[in-house]
């Protein structure tokens, strides 16, 4: 018998199952009923249209940040600057939304474009530093995160203060990615057209990676920069381009987060969707489709964990712990892959 199973998909599923088992063990140790816990966790994300809408809304920025990390990863770069890129994208979108007064379709276009541009600039800087001075993108990426953090910290209270000291004014309805028909369709959930934008981004990234000269060059640099250099592909140009595109994706994620899911921007918070993008990319095996699946799953856990803690005594931290376990198992996917290969071989042998 020959087995035809997509190994990447299998690895992802095994990581998820192992993470859920680890979470169950934790619940048992804490004296809670895991069956009950998981029932409410998944019900919280899926039990009606509103909750499904919220799951998708939660997944939207994750799709974009996951795509951002995955894209850079294909060029051999680790984009750890996603939180900063999200913050800058979100900040710019909010500022445009609060200050520009034009019809909604035009305003939304302008907001998303500035968000993409802002994220792209936040990505380009580490890219340039890497290409020109060989500064590691992780170091400069983390520094860029804090620059974005403190710029937001200064700008929001001084120029766009809302009813609280720590957040901006609410953006007007015309500047929100939420649209009435979609909100109504999902019974008043947070879902917004950021979801469609993220899916368009998924398709564009998939096309770039698989069908274009640019994708060919980016992947060649990622797989083997020595060979790329030998063949006359400009390694530096591709590093900068890759970081720029990755940054732009995260910037769009920022717009989806602060002007779609939320209606204002907070200071003093590094958006967790940034770093979670790394986990999404890992679990999604750095493929565009995989990223969508992983992001929706994480969105489900995120939106379900509140319901779980409301309906049971299980603390919401368990939800985060399960996510952490899944990330851990996804990160050790090499081991899982080896286990699967061993298993396949044994099945193949037994089937003879």
């Amino acid at each position: 018998m020959k087995l035809h199973i997509n190994t990447e998909l299998l690895v992802g599923i095994v990581a998820v199952v192992l993470g859920l088992i680890a979470g169950a063990v934790l619940m048992l140790v804490g004296g809670y009923d895991p069956v009950e816990g998981y029932r409410f966790l998944f019900a919280g994300g899926l039990m009606n249209l509103e909750r499904i809408g919220n799951t998708l809304a939660m997944a939207t920025p994750l799709i974009l940040t996951g795509l951002s990390v995955a894209f850079a990863f294909r060029t051999g770069l680790f984009n750890i600057g996603t939180p900063g890129q999200v913050l800058v994208g979100g900040l710019l979108a909010t500022i445009v939304g609060l200050t520009v007064n034009i019809p909604k379709p035009l305003l939304l276009s302008l907001m998303t474009l500035t968000a993409i541009a802002g994220g792209a600039i936040w990505g380009i800087i580490p890219g340039l530093l890497k290409a020109r001075f060989n500064v590691h993108e992780v170091v400069s990426g983390i520094m860029m995160n804090w620059i974005a953090y403190w710029i937001t910290y200064y700008l929001v209270p001084s120029h766009f203060k809302g009813s609280y000291e720590t957040e901006s004014r609410q953006i007007p309805e015309a500047a929100s990615l939420k649209v009435a028909w979609l909100t109504d369709l999902f019974a008043g959930s947070y879902i917004n057209i950021g979801l469609f934008l993220s899916l368009v981004a998924v398709v564009i990234v998939a096309v770039i990676l698989n069908r274009t000269v640019l994708g060919y060059q980016l992947k060649a640099v990622g797989f083997n920069r020595h060979a790329a250099e030998y063949a006359g592909i400009s390694v530096n140009k591709n590093i900068v381009l890759s970081m720029m595109i990755a940054g732009g994706l995260s910037g769009l994620g920022g717009a989806a987060l602060y002007t779609g899911y939320a209606s204002s921007i907070q200071i003093g918070v590094m958006p967790s969707q940034g770093f979670d993008g790394i986990a999404v990319a890992l679990l999604g095996a750095t493929t565009p489709i995989g990223v969508v699946g992983a992001a929706v799953f994480f969105g489900l856990l995120q939106s379900g964990k509140g319901f779980m803690s409301a309906m049971t005594d299980i603390p919401p931290e368990i939800g985060d712990t399960i996510i952490a376990c899944i990330i851990y198992f996804a990160a050790t996917s090499v081991l899982i892959r080896k286990l699967i290969d061993d298993f396949k071989r044994r099945v193949a042998k037994g089937g003879k």
Binding site: R211, V213, Y216, A220, N224, Y230, A231
Partner: protein, 507 residues
């Protein structure tokens, strides 16, 4: 007859491959026993089993007639088996003595006491004619000397059986002769030697018997005196092999590649590489002969654009290329078969078809307006795979990583020839390949020359340079010490020049 080592009916299976299939090798006391086989034939596996790095699945090992179990290299050492590795394992800023005693340092209390060791090394060195200075630092002595330090390391540990793994790969012809003298001395003093090699000439020169393995299987053990090179090659490859490179005389044409007053900064600190004048003509193979690390790599990198030059000029058909990016140099008519095919030549995670457009993916018909044209890429790949007989599991979509070294090299050669270059730069084009692939690649290089193109051949294999080249430029310490006509020179003269002795003025 006394046997020091007997490896009887050894089999070793790795996932998916039977690396050793019922192999028997018996080493007599006081003989040089060659182990001959193509790459991947299972030579290394067999020696790793003898050295205790692998355990055989079946079969037995006897040392001096007694069955033994060798679980790790320490046991091999205790049994008197020593190995001179192809890549030396020496600490460069330590002295010879310090390197030799490493791991078994003689101590007085807590302090190191090297005096006795140093005297013993001197005595051993004299006994075997090694001529090694015990207090010299490794970084100050030649590669040939370093190899002798490795030999001394084994002798110091009282090894009776010495395994040499491709020992001549890093040596000049003169050093090779010296090594053979040393091997004879070792035999005279009662040692026994296993020589792993694929160079038939060396086997003929030094070995008493020769065991041939092919694809993990034992082919036979022959008496070297009663056998000739052609027969051993046939045993190794499984078919008849021609050693002669057929090459008709040809008048060289116009100058294609011209280097003038070139200065290239060197990787290690030291003087830059200096090439005052070097020309490669149409219809000519210019060979660059030299011992590894004398500036060949830097020279090739400078021409191909992988390394900046300090000053000087490089022209292809009169066009200055020394400041052009790599892509423009390729457009100007340059192709490059790189020294390290896995590092430079291929993206191992890409399929063959993707690798075959590494330089041309941005051009019609492989892409239009930035979009790849998969159909044209496939057609192109199928054409080259057929023309160059590139073998792989799944044809055009096989991952480069899954192919054998010979087929990876064929894929690179197919790609570079397909560029239809004015100047082809081939660096070590047959390194690590089996006799069959070497024969094929040599034929293709000569075809390129015969079609009126220029070829710059850089190789550490002197035979390859002598067989293929029309003219030979010898490089030593970063300078061209002389250019000779291949037809009127010989191994001895070129070998002497490789050590840095300038050739007498020639017309």
């Amino acid at each position: 007859m006394d046997h020091v080592v007997e490896m009887l009916n050894i089999s070793k299976q790795f996932p998916g491959i039977l690396a050793n299939d019922n192999i028997t090798l018996a080493l007599r006391k006081g003989e040089v026993h060659a182990l001959l086989g193509e790459n991947g034939a299972g030579k290394s596996t067999l020696m790793c089993i003898l050295f205790g790095l692998y355990q055989p699945d079946s079969g037995s090992i006897k040392i001096r007639g007694e069955a033994v179990r060798i679980d790790n290299p320490n046991i091999a050492n205790e049994l008197g088996i020593g190995m001179v590795h192809q890549h030396f394992k020496l600490v460069h800023n330590f002295t010879v003595t310090e390197n030799i005693v490493l791991g078994i340092e003689p101590c007085k209390g807590l302090a190191l006491s090297l005096k006795g060791a140093s005297q013993r090394i001197k005595a051993l060195s004299e006994q075997y004619g090694l001529n090694v200075e015990p207090d010299a630092k490794i970084e100050d002595i030649s590669v040939g000397m370093q190899q002798r330090v490795e030999i001394l390391k084994m002798l110091y540990r009282n090894a009776e059986v010495l395994i040499f793994d491709e020992p001549t790969a890093v040596l000049t012809p003169q050093e090779t002769l010296d090594l053979m003298k040393i091997m004879r001395n070792l035999i005279k003093e009662g040692k026994s030697i296993i020589l792993i090699t694929h160079k038939l000439k060396e086997i003929k020169a030094i070995a008493d018997r020769c065991t041939v393995i092919r694809r993990g299987k034992f082919v036979g053990t022959v008496d070297v005196k009663e056998s000739d090179e052609a027969r051993m090659a046939e045993m190794m490859v499984g078919r008849q092999v021609s050693f002669e490179v057929e090459k008709a005389a040809r008048a060289p044409g116009e100058t294609i590649l011209k280097l003038t007053d070139l200065r290239i900064p060197c990787r290690r600190k030291g003087d830059p590489i200096r090439i005052d004048n070097l020309e490669v003509h149409a219809g000519e193979i210019l060979g660059i002969a030299g011992v590894e690390g004398n500036g060949q790599t830097e020279l090739v990198e400078a021409i191909t654009g992988l390394r900046r030059i300090e000053s000087g000029s490089i022209t292809i058909k009169g066009t200055e290329i020394s400041q052009l990016p790599i892509h423009k140099r390729i457009m100007a008519g340059m192709a490059h078969i790189p020294e390290d095919r896995q590092k430079r030549g291929l993206v191992l995670d890409y399929s063959i078809e993707e690798n075959l457009i590494l330089e041309t993916h941005g051009d019609e018909p492989f892409s239009t307006h930035g979009f790849l044209n998969h159909e044209a890429i496939r057609t192109h790949a199928d054409k080259l795979i057929a023309a160059f007989d590139v073998r792989s599991g799944e044809g055009a979509i096989s991952q480069a990583r899954t192919m054998s070294g010979g087929n990876q090299q064929k894929a690179i050669i197919a790609r570079e020839f397909d560029l239809n270059p004015e100047i082809l730069i081939a660096v070590q084009p047959t390194r690590g390949l089996d006799v069959g692939s070497i024969e094929y690649i040599h034929k293709r290089l000569v075809e390129q020359r015969d079609s009126g193109k220029a070829v710059l051949l850089v190789s550490l294999e002197l035979d390859e340079i002598l067989d293929l080249s029309d003219r030979i430029a010898v490089i030593s310490h970063g300078e061209i010490v002389g250019i000779v006509d291949a037809a009127s020179t010989n191994e001895k003269e070129v070998g002497l020049m490789m050590t840095g002795v300038k050739a007498e003025a020639r017309a």
